[in-house]
Amino acid sequence: MKQTQILLIGILLLASFLRFYKIDTIPHGLYIDEISISYNAYTILTKGVDEYGVAHPLFFKAFGEYKMPVTIYLTSASMSVFGKNEFAVRFPSAFFGTLTVLLLYCLIQILFKNKRIALLSAFLLAISPWHLQFSRGEFEATIALFFYLLGIFFFLKFRDHKQFRLLIWSGLSFVITFYTYNAYKMITPLTVIVGVVYLASAFAQFRRKLWIFSLGICVLALPVFLFSGGNNRFFETSAFSEYGHVSFLQKCFVYPMIYLRNYLSYFSLPFLFVTNDGFGRHTVVGMGPLFRFELPLFLVGVCALWRQKKEFGVRVIGFLLCIAPMAASLAVPSPHALRSLLMVVPLTIIVSYGVVAFWEKKNKISKVLFISFTLFALYEYGLYLHLYYTHYPLRTALDWGGEYKQVIAEAQKRQKQYPQIVVNSSIGMMPLYSNFYAPSLHYLFVGYNWQKPASWHNKKVLYITGENTKKDHYLQRIPHTHLQDIHFSNLNHDTFARFWEL
């Protein structure tokens, strides 16, 4: 076996280890979108309908934002193999995340025909905090990224080999991105337009077939634009919504600049190397989406690539970097690490280019600097792993829903003792979580003003609330016994839920 192949297998093993190790427990619990995806996936698997009873829908209503189908059906397949658990829910993201590493290697081989850069890029993506973060949770963006790169891969293969079937594969991959993540409704068409314009000559020999193919792709893609019903979500997160009341002229004046401001924010160095976007689900406190040690290598890479700016591969990287935050810039908050996940690909390639450019410098200072960077990189990677596996579950207890699972498990244990279980709406997502974890758990989900009905006078009631007794005026007025508390896993052990017997 060749040395390159051994290294590539090693990188893939590392990528899969980093993506799958303790994936069911870290991040801490499934967050609300994961629960929604998994519940729909489960109902599809068992009954062939979504949570609203629609048979095999193309778009899932979910919370009213209409989720794309690919992730849900993939999760359904994963559940059929691994069962209804956290591992099965997160498996598709981790699996496609690992495959993306291999795909990046192949893509760079086509673009630069340089094994060293291809291996380095694959390695850097394998260990990238940005890509790891979104591969270890059920995020549609990770799966969409894979299909987007696959589309580009086949497109570039078509450019080299002029085989029509490659174009068909490329088209299908691009269509799948539409059905996976909303941002690609903008990114993919732009990519296709630029690709077709740039490689117009390559299509000349397939003119007749091309018309039929284009028509087929349009038919496949059309439902996304006509029926996906994601408009509510778009307006909710739109960067322009706060200026909805101003006149048309004012809009014309302000909107382009808002877009530009958001777009530029994605290239802000503090976002990329220090703070990330600040969301607990996206950010390991103390780390940016890229490592600090990558900054100088990134700058060297930019210079090295700029010198070869007329090369096709370099132009593709530049294009990817420019296009990656385009859809994300339409929304707030900006910058947003999830919506701009595609940026990780060109940035990783640029850093790899920087590493190679650095290494190829023959002088002693460069070598010493290179060794220093390597040592610092090892230290920073160790720090990242430490922060991710030790600090992250504690710091982001509020962002992930691990405590809901505990509440449901405890309620299930006590179900025999208590004929009536009442859950206060201060534990707001309880119905969604219980649908997934324990559909058989029967309880009454009540508002803040709930009072024990007179007919329940002799019944023992298990009352679960997020409020403490001082805030819950009703509890103060009736006899109650404290049973147990469920705490957040954070440093202060804040109380998530309290169990009372009424």
């Binding site: 004046f253 302000v254 382009p256 600049m257 808002i258 530009l260 401001r261 530029l264 924010s265 290239f267 802000s268 160095l269 503090p270 190397f273 220090v274 703070t275 103390g286 600090r292 210079c303 700029w306 010198r307 230290y379 160790g382 720090l383 430490h386 922060l387 030790t390 600090h391 504690l394 710091r395 440093l491």
Partner: protein, 194 residues
């Protein structure tokens, strides 16, 4: 002649962007080093280390590493695109980039380039470490000087030497003015006078 007018207009634009900062009391956000902040961050990190061997805690959460990371974060604020847009305008950033490219690709560098480059690299440390010792206006001018000079050197190289299409610079100028007028980019980084 047209090139000189363009350069003059660009300089005016950058000075105008800096002039807007005169209303501020200080840079807002994470620009200033504080040892107490480092200590707090350390305490916070250490408290999250449950069931972790002490040597590991010491390796990852010590004053040296934390200070370096805090300094890195503060230094990077000066290279934040959003900050630079409000500091020296959108056009200013293009000039900065152009001059960096010039500087790193040309083998024989002018002494003046070296001086401005070193100023540019080290001047943010004045703000990071000595924020309380000098007035904001003084610090602002000290920091703005190398940024504007470097940017103008970049434009000079683009317009005079490389004969960059002046229409592009025209558009850039308009775009920068448009940005400054349409939004108030200063707000994110400026602590206003009461």
């Amino acid at each position: 002649m047209k090139e000189k007018i363009l350069l003059f207009l660009l300089l005016c634009l950058e000075l105008f962007a800096v002039f807007q900062w005169f209303h501020c009391r200080d840079f807002g956000g994470q620009f200033h080093y504080s040892s107490s902040e480092v200590a707090l961050r350390l305490l916070d990190s250490i408290h999250n280390d449950r069931n972790v061997p002490l040597w590991l805690v010491r390796v990852f959460h010590n004053k040296i590493a934390e200070s370096v990371f805090v300094l890195f974060a503060e230094y990077l604020q000066f290279w934040n695109v959003s900050f630079l847009v409000s500091f020296i305008s959108l056009a200013g950033i293009v000039g900065l980039g152009a001059q960096f490219y010039q500087f790193f690709t040309i083998k024989k560098k002018h002494v003046l380039s070296w001086i401005v480059f070193l100023m540019l690299i080290f001047v943010p440390f004045i703000e990071i470490f000595a924020s309380g010792k000098f007035s904001f206006l003084f610090r602002l001018l000290i920091i703005a000087f190398p940024f504007i000079t470097w940017s103008m050197m970049g434009f000079y190289a683009l317009v005079e030497k490389q004969k960059m299409n002046s229409k592009i610079v025209d558009i850039l100028l308009l775009l920068s003015l448009w940005y400054l007028c349409a939004l108030h980019p200063l707000a994110m980084f400026c602590t206003l006078n009461k």
